[in-house]
Symmetry: C2
Subunit: 176 residues, 2 copies
DNA sequence: CGATAATTTCTGTATAAACAGAAACAACCG
DNA sequence: CGGTTGTTTCTGTTTATACAGAAATTATCG
């Protein structure tokens, strides 16, 4: 698969941004390529197009599958695995957010629960410590609950909601 | 400053999570300590409590300031700088989100704009490429606009909104 | 304008992550 | 059962990041 100038530009950028999003360059590049491709690609395609080692592709695919944004697609008359990304960008965004919450927020929430309890039971800790830990716990908990509720909305409703933007406040009477 | 068991637990955890959030351990630990401390701390306090090199503290403070969540506090009769975190956790969350948007989303949005334009002008690119890039651009753009609008709400209104949770859908008539 | 205190920048080292290539493993076919 | 094709795991190397300690810079005070 030969890349156009635009495709190459996007893949390179996506690869660099990946490092800021907590995945390595190759993982993000594989994702970008699968996202643009007009057919499912096999590992060999990825190796040739991106110029990285076969083993590296294997690891990257596994990582992307653990995120839930790449899946295998059976191709008629082909033995080897072919891969594709989630087609719908909104769904992809949701899935990534779910996973980030699970990895980046939930463990902290659980730990804060413990810390708050222990701080309340402890002689040594100051009111300041208790207060701050509790505030943090409450905030993350509130956000978590909110997110879970949004998440149950069908994608269509969510998009509609987001597109409403600031009109929402007016309807809700939160501000002028 | 001597740490209680709870404080130590929180600081260590925050440090580890930091790496998942895109900052290094020391940066996150400094932030955690300042967050719990009941008074502004100077660099020497941080060195002693966390057991890291002075230079490392200097770099970490600079990083936290670039995020906008740590600021210096003048202390009467003291020459050296003292530092504190943003007190309000909701404000802190907003500031971090702003910064992440700026670093992790905005550059991609700009690049996608270019890619979409170039793909439309190009002979080589397929419809699939054009479509996918456009969808991605539209989604990120919509989200960005939405976020900007939320951001203008006073913190109080935002909290109220988040706490409403799924009641919002009912009011808006998006779902049953 | 020195002298001292405080902070930042620089430089080398240690640590961790990414990656290529080889080896091992698994699946499928005649 | 071999032979072939495809995938994953392992091992060493490279590369990037984090960090300590030293040196340089900046600020503050007598």
């Amino acid at each position: 698969m030969k890349l156009t100038a635009v495709q190459q530009k996007f893949i390179l950028h996506w690869g660099e941004m990946g490092t800021r999003w907590g995945v390595n360059r190759t993982v993000a590049q594989v994702h970008a390529l699968l996202f643009l491709a007009d057919r499912p690609l096999n590992a060999e395609d990825l190796v040739e197009t991106l110029g990285v080692a076969r083993s590296n592709i294997s690891t990257s695919i596994k990582e992307l599958q653990s995120w839930g944004i790449v899946h295998t697609v059976p191709v008629l008359g082909e033995r080897r695995d072919h891969f594709a990304t989630t087609a719908d960008v909104w769904e992809m965004f949701q899935v990534i957010l779910d996973e980030r919450k699970k990895r980046e927020i939930d463990p902290t929430l659980a730990l804060l629960r413990e810390c708050v309890d222990e701080a309340n039971a402890s002689e040594a800790d100051t009111d300041q410590t208790r207060r701050r830990l509790t505030e943090l716990y409450d905030m993350l908990g509130t956000l978590g609950t909110w997110y879970t509720q949004i998440r149950t909305l069908p994608t269509g409703a969510m998009i509609k909601f987001v597109k409403m933007g600031s009109k929402v406040w007016k309807v809700l009477g939160l501000t002028g």
